[in-house]
Amino acid sequence: MGKDVMIKLNHVQKKYPDFSMDCSLTVYPGMITGLIGANGEGKSTTFKLILGLIGKEAGEMEVLGKKRECSNDGKQPEKEILQQTGVVLAETGFGSYFTIHDIIPFLEDLYPEFEKDKFLQYCEEYKLPMNKKIKEFSTGMKRKLQIFAAITHKAKLLLLDEPTSGLDVVAREQMLTLLREYMETEGRAILISSHLSGDLETFCDDIYLIQKGTITFHEEMDRLLDAYGLLKVSDEVYKKMDKSHIICRKKENFGWSCLTDQKAYYQMHNPEIVIEKGSVDELILLMAGGERI
């Protein structure tokens, strides 16, 4: 395992009766890595494995320079690692019976580098009610609170599972801006999952696609948006065209939809073909519903 790696999963395996994981991915310092996939494909399971909420059965895992073994008792990361990690997990959060004032001393004790003033500033700026119980917060407010708690203790690594779900468009952009500001400090990294592909396209440096517990695709975001394209061709055109740069295809009413990583090639050699810009949505739809070539 290299030195400069924030997270390294190498064939990390986990088996359930109706689902199994075999996941390999790497998150480097200075990078925002996206993890995408349909519901139930293993995104949350990946986060839980990294956080030690569930134990891996095989494979190698390294988080912030520390290896983790397979045994049940060893699955939880060391406290020092968790102090350097900020977490937002879908469908979990602070206890409902607390107010923001209640959780501040709790965070101060857990994180030696907790930035109380910054936390309070964010809560005030984004209008979180300080004296209301968290159970009375909206989904968006709860999410914002988790994000503020994750980014105000000088964490090196953020693990964000659906951090913008429940937020409106404006709030989503505000939170993503905060996360970009968080990344301005050197040596940090984010692993983020989201259903909202638009968020990831403008935010992530690279993405992993997970399907049925396995990583089936990995690419830099710039390349995905620039070089990838969606070809829409009839059956006749499909028969004649060069398929060497087609990654996957899907049968449609009009013929075929094909994903290529060489959009420029087809623009030059097949100018008659309708080519749409590559996007995360198209990637997921084709990889999930199509067949690999």
Binding site: Q76, V87, T92, F98, L110, K133
Partner: protein, 223 residues
């Protein structure tokens, strides 16, 4: 662990009406039935539920999943719950001893010595700690509804066992206990401190074993 204790004490403060009600109701029972030891037991057993109730609050809304992503070890989590349990039972006991003494001032015919009150406190403390030692690992291992059924079955099992025992060899057992008490009862009364220390060691061992079991259960739990 300090953060966890702060969190639970904050929750207790937010839910103080519940715990004050338990104490209030037990005082009412004590006054109505003129039975101060019943009041003592009610307070101590009532407050012994605090740690388990805090665990149930953590489990609600998946809060415990989030807690486990924070810099808190699972061992610390269990340690804090056992410490909180011990603290709450002892504080409940001290409070109930004070209330019992006050109550007995109004019922001089029922007044007992301080040693007798203290002995009652120790007896209830031992039973409360042993019950906690049995129940908490069950609640940790199984979800709340399943653990309630298991605990109910355990209690029923114990009652059936004792009933069966009593029916089969009850008379022999009573005779044996009578001989034992006649022979050795005086020793326990004369050597009160020794008896207390021996009981403390036994109860302490049970409580510690339960703690170790709970740490193991928590370590293997998947969220």
């Amino acid at each position: 662990m300090k953060a966890l204790l702060m969190k639970d004490l904050r929750t207790l403060k937010n839910e103080r009406r519940l715990w004050v009600s338990i104490i209030g109701v037990s005082v009412l029972f004590g006054v109505l039935f003129q039975n101060w030891y019943f009041m003592m037991g009610y307070i101590m057993f009532g407050l012994s539920m605090i740690a388990r109730t805090m665990y149930q609050y953590d489990v609600a809304d998946q809060g415990i999943v989030y807690l486990m992503t924070l810099p808190i070890t699972r061992k610390e989590y269990v340690k804090e719950k056992y410490l909180l349990s011990l603290m709450s039972i002892c504080i409940g006991g001290i409070l109930s001893m004070i209330l019992t003494k006050i109550g007995m001032l109004f019922t001089p015919d029922q007044a007992d010595s301080n040693q007798e009150i203290f002995s009652a406190f120790l007896g209830i403390l031992a039973v409360a700690l042993v019950l906690q030692a049995i129940i908490f690992p069950v609640e940790l291992k199984y979800d709340v509804s399943k653990s309630r059924i298991i605990i109910l079955l355990l209690v029923m099992g114990i009652i059936i066992l004792f009933t069966a025992f009593d029916m089969l060899i009850g008379a022999i057992l009573v005779a044996f206990i009578t001989i034992f008490v006649d022979a050795f009862g005086g020793i326990f009364i004369q050597h009160f401190l020794g008896t207390v220390l021996l009981s403390a060691v036994v109860v302490g061992m049970i409580y510690f074993s339960s703690y170790r079991k709970s740490v193991k259960i928590m370590g293997q739990k998947e969220f």
